[in-house]
């Protein structure tokens, strides 16, 4: 009786644990969804859907200089608010996405873009690791190539091997 009881208790605890995990997962999901919803409700009004889309794209691509790892859409910093307002203002004025990006970069540098242009420094970031990998492949390939050569049997060795195999066969 005791054992069954404790086992049932254990089952219950496990069930409860699973339930708790599931519900916290659902809660996290719904919170994330709510966050999205909050982000979507803003006081900005646009004359066209295209302007609104452009605005959304821009505030996702522009990085908040104060908070480093947020875009200005996610950040609550006063500076992010200012940059959102400025972006809105420029979009309503009819400026293009590129003009707005140029305006921001002229003040805050390429840091302000989450999609920075390909400068020599950025190019190095790509080239150095890729060339290290390529170098590794070349080294491995060269080593395996030279090994294969030394492993190959000479004509005399091959004849000897064939002879040994023959002898083994006839013996069995």
């Amino acid at each position: 009786m005791m054992t069954i009881n404790s086992k049932m208790l254990w089952m219950n605890a496990r069930k409860r644990g699973v339930l708790l995990l599931l519900s916290s997962f659902v809660l996290t999901l719904s919170l994330a969804a709510m966050n999205q919803a909050f982000a979507a409700i803003d006081v900005y009004e646009f004359s066209s859907e295209q302007q609104e889309d452009e605005f959304r794209e821009l505030i996702k691509e522009l990085r908040c200089p104060k908070c480093q790892n947020n875009n200005i859409s996610d950040s609550n910093a006063p500076l992010a608010q200012d940059l959102r307002d400025k972006t809105y203002e420029m979009i309503v004025e009819g400026q293009s996405k590129q003009q707005i990006l140029d305006y921001m970069v002229a003040r805050y540098g390429n840091f302000v873009r989450y999609d920075p242009p390909l400068t020599p420094a950025v190019l190095m970031l790509w080239i150095i690791p890729l060339s290290c990998i390529a170098l590794g492949f070349v080294l491995v390939w060269r080593r395996s190539g030279s090994k294969a050569k030394t492993d190959e049997l000479s004509e005399a060795e091959r004849q000897r091997l064939a002879k040994i195999i023959e002898e083994e066969k006839s013996q069995s």
């Binding site: 500076l79 940059l83 003040r107």
Partner: protein, 176 residues
Amino acid sequence: MNRRILIFLIPFAAFLALSVFLFRGLYSDATELESVLIGKPVPEFLLQDIFSDDVQYQQDIFKGEPLLLNVWATWCPTCRAEHDFLNTLSEQGIKIIGLNYKDERPKAIRWLQQLGDPYQINLFDEKGMLGLDLGVYGAPETYFIDSNGIIRYRHVGDVNPRNWSGELAAQFAKLD
């Protein structure tokens, strides 16, 4: 033999280079951004004097002699921390122009009356327009501007006796 030495030396050299690079990274401050306005003139502006909305200033106030442009606000605790040292610098004869950034006028005036006014001119940038054009991302910031009105250096954070004697005084002396 020579080849063998090379095989050891090349990875070792690469390792050393990487170590130096990463070691420097330990001591660099990622929150300190270099201003893109270095080498460029102070942006155009038209701002009121903090004490009087009848008086307006334009970018020509930065021409004539080397100046500091100090961006501050009453909501910024670090600005309070550096204020006494700005008073000291001003007493030493260093010309400082103050940019009151996204602040309230009465509070700012009270601050200057109580703590002293180290500034030659007090610009009032309520909306942060000049701040945005300068790429200000956190007060206090101090811009080093030469006699032609060209921005030569930007310091983010407070100016204090330590960093002034370390790096900033030399930057100011370099201005022509």
